[in-house]
Symmetry: C2
Subunit: 394 residues, 2 copies
């Protein structure tokens, strides 16, 4: 902890990243409360999938954390789309910082069909609007740390900067919001959020940090490793699973590592341990009043094919990479160079992708191999269609 | 009509601009249907205000148009937020073109409080998403003509182009979406729409024209002038009234023309007759498949103060301009030079602001002067507050 003990409200604190973030912030001495409505667990039921690693209920996890660390975490159960709930919760906990993970976070889920596109945008945009209003009404000094995504930018032919772009045009100059051209209705929801947040900073003087995060991999942090009851989820299905985690599962299963199209798509990636560190750094060094601060939260950039090759090389047995038809509409070969110095300047020491890390993921997967639903990994959601049937994995 | 007879669905065809647009398209021989849920009339009731000019029900208007012109207009009554309704309507009418006016269109209304901000963004974003899905499902060749606003751009320190910007950055170039930094949750909803529409063009090959419209003034078009039963609404209240219409009312009432702040804010403005012409030009020259075409739909740019001075000069009696505290958060002195050649290239012949036009507005106002609720013109919605009390005008 960087001196000051903060009161931090973690929205979506029952999720893949929200939970380890809450533990890390609690472990270093901040006072943490979690808000969640458990909708992520319901999406598992809807899709007929589950976290590879079993996870306990939020109450059980919080109890386990209290026993392991002696620290207490408060919880508030409710939906951010309920504006009164958000206002009451913010007033009750009176936070210094709000870390906002509580969004539908899957691009394929948002592309399933019309109702999933609509529910994703409504859930994410309305939830964030309610948070902005709650801050503006209760205490405009609260620092909002909001999770965005590198996918907001898309793949422009120019270098990607951190949120803002200095432009010269017809003899005049301005610092403008970096133009966004994302690749799914989910990514678009985060673009909408970013625009709404920037406006709230401008009119109400709020302080906000928008973190455009890369693809996260890994499942363990120092805190979640203390006891199995503190584990966070590990998703590998075609809808919520992220690419590196999915490749690791495929390697362990001995099935081909399925790359969408040519695999030349470049992604920023980040270790879960660094995600947690980034949130803490952002929280402990808040944006200034009225500042819409943007960091690109990733540590390396790689093509999807080279991620597959790295995982395949780390696997001690045989493994094979297979190109499958790309269900998405995206460029498979493009310029990609994205700035990501802001968090390094705050002190981030990256944990880069290594054989050791991938090896620890393999061990984790081996331990839970009996829980894998191989069918759930198929890419079933087509960007070109307006309605995709879900693979029935159960 | 430019040769081809089109089937055109006008969403929001009961509104201020939707109605005259429907009449104009019908008058030149296109087959027109209107979709509306009459929510605009309910907002009047909520705010305790009314159009200066009495308007008939949609059925009565359509009947009057049939009697006046011999042309039929079909109507569908329902809410665009109901995805099934939108899909069914599009399949039933099978349009070549969809003109989309059906959005909450007032910045102050969206800034009333949290619930109005949320309802504005949900109404506008979800309605447009449902329209995009209906097109993608029914016929991807349908041309969407969507009403946006010049307010999407905000007031950048560089020249505003039409939707796209050629950028050179660190030795590379790209054509990017023009960066947006708008001034209300309403304007933001249109920014969200623009991003969603561009994506739909990219993944589904839809054809769309996004019209970033300036502030519209006037109330009469050749078609609405045929008979009083064909009149469109005229709003002057502090929430839905636009600035030039409001100044004209203040001049007639002999009250000061109230300019927000210094009045140095520059706006693109357009005559209602030109709005209607622009829609027809856009419809008759559709965007290409996959094209996200953007036009800036205004004909002149003026500061708010010079609009007030022009109205004051046109009024034969005494009139006085008064600066009132600006309820909005905006720059009152800024660079503003916005391209607007796209529609001129399609053949638009602008009707510029003239004393004759303002004189005809004065006559209109005089005829309906007894209906004016002076109290309704007060700027009651503060951008800085999170909750503004409505002036009770009834």
């Amino acid at each position: 902890m960087n001196g000051v003990r903060l009161r931090i409200l973690v929205l979506g604190g029952d999720g893949y990243l929200g939970w380890p973030t809450a533990l890390n912030l609690s472990s270093v001495g901040h006072e943490v409360a979690i808000v969640d409505n458990f909708v992520r667990r319901r999406w598992d039921e809807e899709l007929g999938v589950d976290s590879l690693v079993p996870i306990l209920t939020l109450d059980e996890r919080i109890g386990a954390w209290c026993r392991a660390s002696g620290k207490r975490i408060t919880s508030y159960v409710g939906d951010l789309c309920d504006g009164e709930f958000v206002a009451t919760t913010v007033a009750d906990f009176d936070p210094d910082t709000i870390v906002h993970y509580a969004e539908q976070s899957s691009a394929p889920y948002s592309m399933l069909d019309r109702s999933h596109a609509v529910s994703t945008q409504v859930n994410n945009v309305v939830g964030t609007l309610n948070v902005l209003y709650a801050i503006a009404e209760h205490n405009r000094d609260i620092h909002l740390v909001k999770l965005g995504t590198m996918g907001e930018y898309g793949t422009p032919n120019i270098d990607i900067e951190e949120g803002w772009l200095d432009v010269a045009h017809r003899g005049r100059t301005d610092r403008v919001l970096f133009p966004k051209r994302p690749g799914s209705f989910y990514h678009l929801s985060k673009v909408h959020d970013s625009h709404n947040i920037e406006f709230a900073c401008r009119i109400w003087g709020l302080r906000a940090t928008d973190l455009n995060q890369g693809v996260v991999y890994g499942q363990e942090t120092p805190e979640t490793s203390i006891h199995p009851d503190l584990a966070t989820r590990f998703d590998y299905d075609g809808v919520f699973g992220t690419v590196l985690n999915r490749f690791a599962i495929q390697a362990v299963l001995g099935t081909p590592l399925t790359v969408y199209g040519s695999g030349g798509q470049t992604r920023g990636i980040i270790n879960i341990v660094d995600t947690v560190a980034c949130i803490r750094l952002a929280a402990e060094t808040p944006a200034a009043p009225g500042e819409f601060r943007v960091f690109n939260q990733f540590t390396e950039q790689m093509t999807v094919r080279s991620i597959a090759e790295t995982v395949a090389a780390a696997w001690p047995g045989d493994s094979r990479i297979e190109a499958v038809e790309n269900p998405r509409v995206e460029m498979e070969s493009h310029h990609y160079r994205a700035a990501h110095t802001g968090l390094l300047d705050l002190g981030l020491v990256p944990h880069l992708l290594s054989e050791t890390l991938i090896g620890s993921m393999f061990s984790l997967i081996e331990r839970h191999k009996h829980r894998i639903l191989a069918e759930a990994m198929r890419p079933t959601v087509s960007w070109r269609s307006t309605s995709s049937a879900l693979a029935s994995a159960n």
